[in-house]
Symmetry: C2
Subunit: 211 residues, 2 copies
């Protein structure tokens, strides 16, 4: 593990935002970027950005700024994005289908290795190429054999805690929970609750500002 | 419009996090909360939280802390969450269906007033009680008649820019874009890009920390 000290949630969000700018710039063929340019995109003072990046162990050059690909790689390393990780998804409803079919996995170094559901009409469907929906009863064996570290919960709120318990018992280290309910898990399990409502709240705020 | 100065994106995220804690505490019947308690949940120093809340115009009382419902209301007002706003969704695929059926709308003061798609097999489906999926060709009239301010884009990346253009021409003031592509819109339109990948990246980082 690196000597990186624990970042606050706010710092993590800022670094994700910087990475987004950097990846956009890589696509555009840019080689260097200044803290002022990142700041314009992220809505933050350049001095804050320099602080954050100094904390990661890097410093921009006067006038030239930061090397875009070096900086992107530094953030990717800090977030362990290039380590190959396996995940499974529980709940192949609308949200599960949308996530399974999305391009988010490889971006963060994840492979969606298994999908589970308890509905007999859904079990056996092709979730991805080479990934068929399995019965939730198989979760224990599959998590072991596929060395799955992360479980994604996309079941209704009423089934979320049970699902979390299954995942924990089967040995995952982390849970990404989309069910609109707070789930309990042992302290050593990383639980990330995804709040889709936040995007709407941010929109509401920015519309007020723009009035 | 209030005298609230423009918050950075990072401050907005922090305030959303505080609101989440406060709403959880309201459910539990708590009346007061200290900055230390909010800090523990949010992973931030209490002094930072007091700064943020002082910026909203409030101060905790020594030992007692903040009034939970007053503080929640202050944040709701700052984000204009209690003003009734109408939204429409374009693209009734898996993600559109998941969002339409979720409980995020009323939380932020939104009503999902219309859903559009271009697939004849999808047009006419019941998206919500009293909301049937309409043809994208009706978007202009419906946005006017329903006084829709916000459009949510859940179409594939290849159709996202066209959809954004339709929404802008029909008169929305803001766009919540789920397509994994940067869309262009006039400067006066608020565009919020939703990155689902961020949750996975945060998870990856927190798993590394926990190793």
């Amino acid at each position: 593990m690196s000597n990186l000290k624990k970042l606050s949630r706010a710092s993590v969000v800022r670094l994700e935002l910087y990475l987004e700018v950097l990846e956009q710039m890589q696509k555009e063929g840019r080689t260097h970027v200044t803290s002022a340019e990142i700041g314009e995109y992220a809505g933050l003072a350049p001095v804050k950005i320099r602080q954050d990046l100094f904390g990661l162990g890097t410093d921009g050059k006067p006038r030239v700024g930061y090397d875009v690909s070096d900086l992107a790689q530094l953030i990717r390393n800090a977030f362990d994005m290039d380590r190959a990780k396996s995940a499974c998804l529980v709940g192949f409803g609308n949200l599960g289908r949308a996530l399974a079919g999305s391009n988010i996995w490889s971006k963060a170094g994840f492979r969606l290795a298994a999908v589970f559901d308890r509905d007999p009409n859904v079990i056996g469907l092709e979730a991805l190429e080479d990934v068929q929906v399995k019965s939730i009863n198989e979760i224990f064996g599959v998590i072991k054999s596929e060395e799955i570290e992360t479980g994604i919960i996309t079941v209704p709120a009423s089934a979320a805690q049970d699902t979390a318990n299954h995942l924990v018992n089967a040995g995952v280290r982390s849970i990404w929970n989309f069910a609109p309910i707070k789930i309990s898990a042992p302290e050593n399990i990383v639980v990330e609750n995804q709040s889709l409502a936040w995007g709407l709240i941010t929109l509401s705020y920015r519309m007020k500002l723009a009035m």
